[in-house]
């Protein structure tokens, strides 16, 4: 990033003032850069949060499964014991235990509220199964359960875990694509603004050439201006975006995915990457625009 330092000088020497400030393009560049940086912070948050979510779902659910006992009330206890016996003797099962009433209430509370009359509801018994690292053979377990406890249904979470992880990964991809699009739009807008500035300063370019300026020198005068504007706009936008993210509600277990949006730990440094990145985009876009325009003005 050291190559950026000459562009970020605040003191205005003659070299910095060779290209006269033009209000329209200057404001457009700063505004575009700020708006894109603001959006980039949100895209970054989305990408990071969905990444965390996918990892969590994959990690938490990968080695756990549930056995549900749905049987006539008189047989529930016997089938539960039979199912637990089968599970205890199944290779690959580390632990199996039936959830008590409080745990079941805690599971249902987010959906039905705290005053749930569990006793009056015909709820199935749930057995939480923890696997070993090697896991168990789900097909043979299903067959054994069907023989010993006909009301037992094994749910190894595969059916709904995979789509959830796929959805989370796609959301993460969407965030990355959004960041790429934001970078592309920023580059396009700055190229347009730089082209407008170059066209408006045709006389400046002619005078500079007349006194012996090389095209690289002329281009650098414009590049310096636009890189600084891109950086300062992005700094402002990223700051606002980060403040907005910081003001979002904290993650709550009952709040679902939306309250988990935000940065965690070292992730708070990511927004600070946006302004230098915007400066690089502005640098590249203006170099490109200047090269094209100066070639055309031969």
């Amino acid at each position: 990033m050291s190559f950026l330092l000459p562009f970020l000088k605040i003191d205005k020497t003659v070299q910095d003032r060779i290209v006269p400030p033009s209000g329209f393009t200057a404001q457009l560049t700063i505004l575009t850069s700020a708006a894109m940086a603001f959006l980039a912070v949100f895209a970054l948050t989305l990408s990071l949060a969905t990444g965390r979510l996918a990892d969590r779902w994959a990690g938490e659910l990968a080695q756990s499964s549930t056995v549900r006992i749905s049987a006539p009330i008189a047989q529930v206890e016997a089938q539960t014991k039979a199912a637990l016996a089968v599970l205890e003797t199944t290779p690959g099962v580390r632990e199996a235990r039936a959830l008590d009433a409080d745990e079941q209430r805690a599971l249902l509370e987010p959906w039905f509220g705290p005053s749930l009359p569990l006793d009056s509801l015909p709820l199935p018994v749930l057995i939480d199964v923890k696997e070993t690292a090697e896991g168990y053979d789900s097909e043979s377990l299903r067959l054994r359960l069907a023989g010993e406890a006909p009301g037992a249904v094994l749910d190894d979470h595969t059916r709904w875990r995979k789509p959830l992880i796929t959805a989370a990964n796609r959301l993460r991809l969407l965030g990355v694509v959004s960041l790429i699009l934001i970078g592309g739009v920023t580059a396009a807008m700055i190229t347009l603004a730089a082209n407008a500035a170059l066209a408006a300063n045709g006389q400046v370019i002619r005078v500079l050439r007349l006194v012996g300026a090389k095209d690289a020198y002329i281009a650098s005068a414009f590049v310096r201006q636009f890189t600084f504007r891109g950086f300062s706009g992005a700094l402002f936008g990223a700051f606002l975006g980060t403040v907005a993210i910081a003001l979002l509600p904290d993650a709550q277990t009952t709040g679902g995915f939306l309250t988990g949006l935000g940065f965690r730990g070292y992730e708070w440094f990511w927004p600070f990457v946006i302004p230098p990145f915007a400066a690089c985009v502005a640098y590249g876009a203006t170099q490109f625009a200047a090269k094209q325009t100066l070639k055309r003005l031969m």
């Binding site: 003659v14 400046v204 005078v207 500079l208 050439r209 006194v211 012996g212 300026a213 090389k214 095209d215």
Partner: protein, 223 residues
């Protein structure tokens, strides 16, 4: 120094200059004259590579300008000072900043003493911080001359430098250009002011180049 070898320049299928062959020696002083639209400015533009000849060969300071690279043109311009009738300043910079512009683009440091001496030489010491728009016509021409010579170029080209100034200022500008010629610089002045050319007679050995009918017709006529 500057050599034209059977040079022609055309635009839109029409020749504006043709069959130009001449050689301008180092340290020489030339007036370029002719009626309006004869091609004086076009000829001068060929002399500082603003235009490329469409036929023939132009050599500037020993460099063939055919297919010359843009960066080489910049290098040539640092050795050829140009004064335009409309001066061509950066209007948002002060007089001293405009005068020092060639140093800046060449990456040379600005020596304040030399700059002040140069501004004093053209009589603009008091106007150093003024903007170009605040200068009179004569002051603008003198500032343009100071800018043209700040890199100590080998050739000074002036396109109608006295077109917008009174007679007294014309003489002042002529005197400055004669001084530069006496310092060994090659000077080319485009003008249709015959009084000015006659006035120069007493001060310097000059040649008059007359452009008419797309050709230089009186090359080599001394005053």
């Amino acid at each position: 120094m500057i050599e034209f070898n059977n040079v022609a320049y055309g635009y839109g299928g029409q020749d504006l200059l043709t069959e130009i062959s001449l050689s301008l020696a180092p340290g020489s002083f030339h007036f370029l004259t002719g009626p309006s639209g004869a091609g004086k400015t076009t000829f001068l533009k060929l002399c500082y590579c603003e235009l490329q000849a469409t036929a023939g060969r132009v050599q500037l300071l020993g460099k063939d300008t055919r297919n010359i690279a843009r960066d080489d043109v910049a290098g040539l311009r640092r050795n050829i000072g140009v004064v335009h009738q409309d001066c061509k300043f950066l209007d948002h910079l002060s007089v001293s900043e405009n005068v020092a512009l060639p140093l800046l683009v060449a990456g040379k440091s600005r020596d304040e003493t030399n700059l002040n001496e140069l501004l004093a030489w053209v009589g603009l010491s008091e106007r150093a911080d003024a903007l170009p728009a605040e200068l009179s016509g004569g002051e603008r021409q003198r500032a343009a001359l100071a800018r043209a010579v700040i890199m100590s170029p080998e050739v000074i080209i002036a396109d109608e430098p006295t077109g917008n100034v009174d007679w007294e200022m014309s003489l002042r500008l002529l005197q400055l250009l004669v001084e530069l010629n006496k310092m060994g610089k090659t000077v080319i002045i485009a003008t249709h002011d015959m009084h000015l050319i006659r006035q120069a007679k007493s001060q310097v050995q000059a040649r008059v180049l007359r452009i008419a009918n797309r050709r230089i017709q009186q090359a080599g006529v001394d005053l």
